[in-house]
Amino acid sequence: MVTVKVSPLLRRYTNDKESVKVKGNSPMECLHALEAKYPDLKRLLYDKNGALLPRVMFFVNNQRIHADELNSTLKDGDELLISVAIGGA
């Protein structure tokens, strides 16, 4: 199981849960598993064509991963943080 943590902005879509354990072999699989539990998340994370928005950020074991790593392999016990980029000042 992978522990998926969501940033504060996303918690309103996960019943205020900060972390959820899911089954998934990659960051994208884990995201899909999370969406299966909390479908409202999709509204914030995807465009109307179903493409993942560039504002979504992923961190595996507190390390940023980029677009080319979204299908990389995760191990049991790994932590995945999903966040969205914010730009207020």
Binding site: S7, P8, R55, N62, H66, L81, V84, G88, A89
Partner: protein
């Protein structure tokens, strides 16, 4: 040389062993440009001014509105309608007449960003991504430190970018949450103070900077999370 007045003004921070008079001299010679005189810019400018950063250049093309005043603490009710940079300059000079404050009431564009930042350390306190990217580019091309901050509601983020050593802002972001940003004043206060702390540490050469470290602040749970950043191999700016 620090005057008697300066030594008195900064006496309490000079007591910090890593700071001392030598550190205060470094601050006096330092030049920092703060892009944005709003929610983040207000605390950044305030704390850099009172710490004694010798030259502060503040850039903003906006005017003060009533809706700014829940967070943009450099601007007061009497300043509504005024250019933010003029309002900021007035307050900063009152806070510390011993420093130089330059107000530039201009929009940052591709054509002027290099001249506007010149050779100053750059604080990113603007609220639109294209401008942040311009500043990032200027920092990279001119080899200038870049102190980034961003907020949304009770959430804030900060990181410090050193060209040639860290990932850049383009590695970090491709897009941000759109629309009118909800914000309460205490959030940019926290993040602005973090940015100002980073600037002071950089100038003084002390402590550990938020380089390739992304600090995520959650005011609601009152927790800080830190994650590591790395270069995006496909970054169009710094690869």
């Amino acid at each position: 040389m620090l005057s008697k007045r300066e030594l008195a003004r900064y006496s309490r921070q000079i007591l910090i062993p890593e700071w001392a008079k030598a550190g205060q001299q470094k601050l006096k010679k330092a030049k920092v440009v703060v892009a944005g005189a709003g929610g983040l810019g207000s605390p950044v400018l305030t704390y850099l001014a009172v710490a004694g950063v010798g030259k502060l250049r503040v850039i903003d093309d906006d005017k003060v509105e009533l809706g700014n005043l829940n967070r943009q603490i450099l601007h007061w009710d009497k300043d509504i309608g005024r250019a933010k940079v003029d309002s900021a300059k007035e307050k900063l000079e009152s806070l510390n007449p011993d420093i130089e404050v330059e107000a530039i009431h201009e929009r940052i564009t591709e054509d002027n960003v290099f001249d506007l930042v010149e050779d100053y350390a750059i604080v990113d306190a603007v609220d639109d991504l294209p401008t942040r990217f311009l500043l990032n580019r200027a920092a990279l091309r001119k080899n200038l430190p870049f102190f980034h901050g961003a907020i949304y509601g009770f959430e804030g983020r900060a990181t410090t970018i050193i060209p040639g050593k860290t990932s850049c802002l383009r590695c970090l972001y491709q897009e941000v949450m759109p629309g009118k940003i909800p914000v309460v004043g205490v959030t940019p206060a926290v993040i602005g103070c973090i940015q100002a702390t980073e600037v002071l540490k950089y100038i003084l050469g002390i402590g550990e900077l938020l380089t390739d470290r992304f600090l995520i602040y959650d005011g609601l749970s009152m927790r800080f999370t830190e994650v590591k950043l790395k270069k995006d191999p496909n970054c169009c700016e710094c690869k």
